[in-house]
Amino acid sequence: MSAREAMIKRMKDLPSTHLLGTGTPMCAGCGGLEALHEVYDVLGENSVFVNAAGCMTLLSVYPFTPFRGSWLYTAMASAPAGAQGVRDALDILLEKKRVTKAEDLEVAVLTGDGAAYGMGLSATSGAIERNLDFLYLCYDNEGYGNTGQQYSGATPHAAKTATSGGPRGFAGYKKDLFAIWVAHKPAYVATVVGAEPLDLARKIEKAKQLTGPRLIIALAPCPPGWGYDPKDSVDIGRLAVRTGVWPLKEYVDGKVVHTKIPHPRRPVEEYLSKQGRFAHLFAPKRNEALLAQLQAKVDAYWAQVSE
């Protein structure tokens, strides 16, 4: 463990003043912004964000930005390619001694799940293949939130979206992006959630010490998209972890390690019943079969996790 990582051991070590500027146009109670502000406190201001189209495109709308460093906007599928360009430019400047090592910047890709799980996957795969030295942060609100929560490759089974109605909700299954990224054998992959800030901070600290592709998926509870009161964002994020729906884990040195194994694991229903997007599972009549199926899927996941 490096000196920097050792800095964040306890809740009291978490930053108490914050780097990300206030006044962003994200929704009140945004779980993605919560994760980003926690990430940014650890990542620091010597960073460049390459942002694919999505909710967070709206973070930097001229002449306003919450970042303390540069921000570059790309099309939805191409943020990792944009990051390659920025990294290359920095490397050239370093080589020409026009920037010093101390002035070098961390290049961070910021995209939603629409880009990360879907149309940006090819560009990400290429960037990992080229061993690009960058950090990728995906805020995963499990749908195309910016346009009204249409389903994406990250939408969970049975969730209602703007494009998945009816009594059974979304017919597909959430893509295992963690496994897809891990299959590329990058330097680091982790899942985080803003509701677990200590776990998040330690992972970002760790990623910061490494070079090469480092990819982070932050579950981003979304009040309008998931259908709950903004004040419940943290509770819902925490329930995602405690019910086992969102496993907190990391891949480093060729191994996947779970960083917070829920004991005891709470019934998945506790997580589902708090969100409007799953209301059809409970009313007008409980859909016992579908609820059992969702629980069984989580149980099967944890059955193969060795402690």
Binding site: M11, K12, L14, P15, S16, T17, H18, L19, L20, G21, T22, G23, T24, P25, M26, C27, A28, G29, C30, G31, L33, E34, H37, E38, E45, L58, L59, S60, V61, Y62, P63, F64, T65, P66, F67, R68, G69, G165, G194, A195, P197, P223, P224, D229, P230, K231, D232, S233, V234, D235, A279, A283
Partner: protein, 310 residues
């Protein structure tokens, strides 16, 4: 042609209100346009929605600049320049505000010649879950003020637009809309149709000509950090979290880490401070504070207690 403009905050059901009213007009045989304005706005931010209705085909498009009826679901928006509540209002415009204040107070405050009405039951929920009902109340009141939509059509439109919601929620919406409709009876039909406008009368705005420059000059580069602090998202707030420092345990991190907007900072002594210029009122801090040291106060009451400073 009737031109109606709704002003509210994201989450108050303004888009739905415009759809309800649009559907009701349609059921009465009108040609109708209804549309929300899509932008960078989010839940809590100022939202606009527009309805045009006419017996003849509608050739106008776009946002409504000269409304016959303006409906404001949240009176704190009147003072927000970005909300543009008063834009294009004339002495013929009817302004309906959801407010605790009297029409006279508003007339005096705005120095306006317009007809000003307030919703008979000011609607200020203490819970976010109640917010969307404001839309139903506004739509119900609007139908009465227009005088050309009977309650039966309004109710049918409301049930049609809300069909996907739980039955109890639909009934609450119907009740709110109906109450507002009935209480507005004395003002039935006070909204007059605006004149048809012709493209020939269009006066273009005072455009500023910007020469075509090289990208280095014209590209919108931002040269200072964290300029977003200039955007006062505190204006989105309908509820205000207030810390009781006697109960605050100086935990150091909970409210400050969980606040998505970086709007709570902790000083060296462990004392948290909420930045009300930017707090959007999500109330995560209230829900998470371990000793329950943060209270929820309706923003309206908090501002009144401050002596109308804002």
């Amino acid at each position: 042609m009737y031109r109606i403009r709704f002003h509210g905050r994201g989450g108050q059901g303004m888009k739905t209100a415009s759809r309800m009213l649009g559907s009701a007009f349609f059921a009465e045989g009108f040609e109708v346009q209804d549309a929300p304005r899509y932008g960078a706005e989010r839940r809590g931010a100022p939202i606009f929605a527009y309805v045009r209705a006419d017996r003849a085909p509608i050739n106008e498009r776009g946002i409504i600049r000269q409304p016959d009826l303006v409906i404001v679901a949240d009176d704190s928006l009147v003072a927000v320049p970005a909300a543009g509540v008063l834009g294009g209002m004339t002495s013929d415009t009817v302004l309906l505000i959801n407010s605790h204040e009297s029409p006279d107070t508003w007339r005096h405050r705005l120095n306006a010649q317009s007809t000003i009405l307030v919703l008979p039951e000011p609607f200020e929920p203490e819970d976010h879950a109640e917010l969307p009902y404001a839309g139903a109340a506004c739509a119900g009141a609007a139908a009465q003020l227009l005088g050309v939509i009977p309650w039966a059509s309004m109710e049918q439109a409301l049930r049609h637009e809300l069909a996907e919601l739980a039955p109890a929620v639909i009934e609450t919406n119907v009740t709110r809309a109906r109450t507002a409709f009935e209480r507005m009876e004395p003002h039935r039909g006070c909204v007059r149709e605006g004149r048809a406008v012709s493209a020939a009368d269009y006066v273009p705005p005072n455009w500023v000509e910007v020469p075509f420059e090289a990208a280095r000059i014209s590209a919108p580069a931002i040269h200072a950090p964290a300029t977003s602090v200039e955007v006062k998202t505190g204006l989105w707030r309908t509820l205000r979290p207030v810390i009781d420092y006697d109960r605050c345990s100086r935990c150091w991190w909970v409210c400050s880490s969980f606040c998505p907007d970086s709007a709570i900072n902790v000083d060296a002594a462990g004392r948290p401070e909420i930045d009300y210029d930017h707090c959007k009122g999500c109330m995560i801090c209230v829900a998470q504070c371990p000793p329950h040291a943060i209270e929820t106060i309706p923003e309206h009451d908090a501002q009144a207690a401050e002596g109308g400073k804002e």
